[in-house]
Amino acid sequence: MKPLRVVVVDDEELARAVVREHLAAHPGVEVVAECANGIEAIEAVATLAPDLVFLDVQMPRLTGFETLELLDPRPAVVFVTAYDRHAVKAFEVSAVDYLLKPFSKERFDAALAKARALLGSGAKGPDPAALAAAARPEGVPLERIAVREGARVTLLPVETVAWVKAEDDYVLIRSGGRNHLKHQTLSDLAAQLPAARFVRVHRSWVVSVAKLASLEEGKTAVMADGERVPVSRAGAARLRERMPRG
């Protein structure tokens, strides 16, 4: 049988040790990498393409959710957390398996078996962005967008984002004078952006009201960076509501 290739991600050495120890009891499982943070994990997954990742939720720099969004190719995931009400709620609604620290051997084995079955069935896991959204406390909008170029991860604070454009399965994000591409749908991202700042002006465009220069004839939004954005009729109405009067 082909071995199950596993990556263990946790910022605590002892926490990784527990997972490693439990895995050692299972023949046919190979731990191909251990990572202490999300950035290491993104790199390891890109180069090693593991089948399964044990992913801690609270980590420095990138949370487990942000990390999952940037994993490519996308492995099966078992989340591990000590305590996070919102994360657990998200796991429940998305039917994602998770382990609560500290966990028993039985619980660990069950999670591993479930992940194997999922991998065998070829079923796709939950959408990472939707999962991340579900894990955020209610009414708390997205504060930053994690993007990746190769192994380089950048965190874009939403205040710096001027506009977002849909490009097939990707979104093109303009922030700080640079473009960033991310594997996510525009609807998905738009739903998470703070509504006080961003307006969907077109099927494929979202703009930041703060970075808007003018609205030309109700058809084109001219952004402060010079970008000309097409505006639909409904988009123009939404935009006018939000633009400062006069």
């Binding site: 910022d11 605590e12 926490a15 943070n37 609270q58 305590y83 500290p102 604070p157």
Partner: protein, 355 residues
């Protein structure tokens, strides 16, 4: 706002108290014999009303020259000067009023005859002003004792709250479950360290329970609690968490409310070290600051990590507890420069008065 002017019923009582004073004033104006009692009354009534309000101003002089702190000489100087000015104004108002009344046919000779009434009016003005100074000092001392009582009450409430918060922090699911997970990891690989961790955790829990029961503890004990907390976290974070202590040992007997530093140390780890991939050093500093003691907790942090809900709660409770214990005599300042975050407390060397 002036305490008398702040409420209508107080002002009414105050003005009623001036009715007999106005009668005395009328009597004194008539005393030199140059004014009839009717004329004296016609002058005294409006003058008293004006002077009643003028005397209220001595409140501000009293507040700026509290009897407890300033030297007697300067306090006396301030009020005597105030009295002379007020009495001069009263006399001036009196002669102005007299000459105004002089335009009426009934009082044509009043302005000339008023001159003899000036000395008693001036003396009375000085005395009345000094009376109002006394009155305001009494008022201020009543108010400050009420404020002290309120502060003591608030301190008690806040201490309870802090105790509760600290209890919640010990039962802080993150801290406790992660610590237990460390124990779980160590049991097979390093049983002796697992046992050590259990003991560290128990010591920390026991100490925080017992210190929360007292209203004041020596800084030494609070620091020991923080050290135990950090020891538990060091097992978990390993080399990512370093602790540096720069402590002036002679200050460790300083009395402080319990569990004052604990939430700050916890924040330093949770919102500081934990946000950094490489970790960093938490620095605890205790040093002399004039007659007081300065305690600083400093940690590096990742400015790009969004502040999580509740991260400011610990700090705001510490701030309120300091104010409740010492009022303005204690200070707290937090500062983050994008790399390092610090909270600096300055507390008086003398323990707070206990409510």
């Amino acid at each position: 706002m002036h305490p008398i002017l702040a409420r209508r019923e107080r002002l009414l009582a105050y003005l009623l108290a001036w009715v007999p004073l106005a009668a005395i004033q009328a009597y004194l104006l008539a005393l030199p014999g140059s004014l009839s009692i009717g004329e004296a009354a016609a002058l005294a009534a409006p003058l008293s009303l004006v002077y009643a309000f003028l005397c209220l101003s001595s409140f501000y002089a009293c507040r700026s020259a509290p009897l407890t702190r300033a030297r007697t000489g300067s306090v006396l100087g301030v009020h005597v000067a105030g009295a002379l000015i007020a009495a001069s104004l009263l006399t001036l108002a009196g002669s102005t009023l007299a000459s105004l009344l002089g335009t009426l046919p009934e009082f044509t000779t009043l302005p000339e005859r008023f001159g003899r009434a000036v000395p008693p009016l001036f003396v009375l003005g000085v005395l009345l002003y000094l009376l109002s100074v006394t009155f305001h000092y009494i008022l201020l001392s009543l108010e400050s004792s009420q404020a002290a009582e309120r502060r003591a009450m608030e301190a008690r409430v806040l201490a309870r709250e802090a105790e509760l918060e600290a209890l919640k922090a010990q039962l802080n699911p993150h801290f406790l479950f992660n610590a237990l997970n460390s124990v779980s990891a160590l049991t097979t690989t390093a049983p002796a360290r697992a046992r050590e961790m259990c003991i560290l955790l128990s010591d920390f829990l026991r100490r925080s329970l017992s210190s929360g029961e007292r209203s004041l503890i020596p800084l030494r004990e609070e620091l020991a609690l923080a050290q135990q907390f950090l020891a538990v976290e060091r097992v978990r974070y390993g080399r990512r968490l370093e602790v540096e202590e720069l402590v002036d040992e002679t200050l460790l007997a300083t009395a402080i409310p319990p569990l004052l530093l604990q939430p700050l140390v916890e924040n330093a780890v949770r919102h500081g070290i934990a946000t950094l991939i490489e970790g960093g050093t938490v620095t605890l500093r205790v040093e002399r600051a004039g007659d007081g003691v300065r305690v600083a907790i400093e940690n590096p942090y990742d400015p790009e990590t969004p502040a999580t809900a509740g991260s400011g709660l610990g700090l705001s409770i510490v701030r309120r507890r300091l104010a409740a214990a010492w009022g303005r005599a204690a200070e707290i300042e937090e500062r983050g420069d994008g790399k390092r975050f610090s909270v600096v407390l300055v507390v008086p060397g003398a323990p707070p008065e206990e409510g």
